[in-house]
């Protein structure tokens, strides 16, 4: 069988099932809104959005691996680049860039200029502590955990809080070695 060649994010995005982004954006907005009414603390809403994202990420990584045809990434650096270049394009139709690598290659920033999640959104004064797009950081954390990388993902810039772009800091905490349940000769 011929080796599967990695496909560009654009190629995958144009071949998969897509839906109107308004439905996605407004549904997410309605969920955040409902959570804000149901829970008292903005901090709790942040946590729940992150948890939702994590659960979504551990599913989406399967789809990503199945449809992108990428082979094994050699290190954390290549993995993050792959998420930014192919992952964001394939699911959200936008490209993200990766910058600010530290010297040992375990910490970097993903920058999003265009974020379909936050379209039509303005935060009222009562929600200043809210990380509206927290679902995204959860998705990245969940997806990376499924490929054996424990990470910490935090927002460092957020347009909804007055910054000029969306910036996520991704920090590799631990690379977990893959464990196999059975040995080859058993």
């Amino acid at each position: 069988m011929a080796p599967v060649t990695p496909r560009s994010g654009d190629a995958i995005f144009s071949s998969i099932d897509r839906v109107n982004a308004e439905l996605f954006t407004l549904t997410y907005g309605a969920i955040v809104r409902q959570l804000l009414t149901d829970l008292e603390e903005v901090e709790e809403v942040n946590n729940l959005l992150d948890q939702m994202g994590y659960n979504i990420g551990i599913r989406l990584i399967d789809e990503f691996l199945a449809k992108s045809g990428v082979s094994i990434c050699v290190d954390f650096k290549e993995t993050v680049e792959m998420i930014a270049k192919v992952g964001f394009k394939m699911f959200l139709g936008v490209t993200a860039s990766v910058t600010s690598w530290d010297a040992d290659g375990t910490c970097c920033s993903i920058i999003l200029e265009d974020n379909p999640l936050a379209e039509f959104v303005e935060l009222p004064d009562t929600c200043q502590g809210l990380y509206y797009c927290n679902v995204l950081s959860g998705v990245i954390r969940g997806a990376l955990e499924m490929v054996s990388m424990k990470t910490e993902v935090t927002w460092t810039r957020d347009v909804l809080r007055g910054d000029d772009a969306y910036e996520l800091q991704v920090k590799l905490l631990k690379q977990v070695a893959e464990e196999y349940l059975y040995k080859d000769d058993e």
Partner: protein, 174 residues
Amino acid sequence: MVREVAESCVDTMLMEMVAMYSGRFYANKPELAARRIEAIGYQVGHQLSERYTMERPRFSDHLEAIKFICKDFWSEVFKKQIDNLKTNHRGTFVLQDNKFRWLSRVSIDPSSSEKETEDPSTPGESKAAQAVSMYLYFPCGIIRGVLSNLGIPCAVSADISSLPTCSFVIRVKA
């Protein structure tokens, strides 16, 4: 050009939303979870209807508005139209979608539902079917949100007798 995202983004988000409300918040109170999920749908329907009706003339009667949901609205959201519309001409409308997108990948294990029905706590309805119905409060809320924004207060329920066919029953309040 209309902006799009991968369908799996919406699918996984809905799954998580339902799991969060019916599992985490209101595990023992399905009716409360249902009300929240319906409210989220209502909000979405309300906002979508604003956007999709922007450049149209006012609907002359209820049937016109319902037809808008069956054709234009359903096409925008689900990329297909409603397959069958029935009405008793007294305010009840039944919209049938033969392959409802949000149920197209749902299956109910028949063996498990037989076992479940013996459970006295859920008479006549399996837990699996109950779980599926949780997913339907969202589209029901969307329909109610659209219609109420068009000035038609109503109640919407869903009926799934054979997956993935789904019928939405709209009862307009007099």
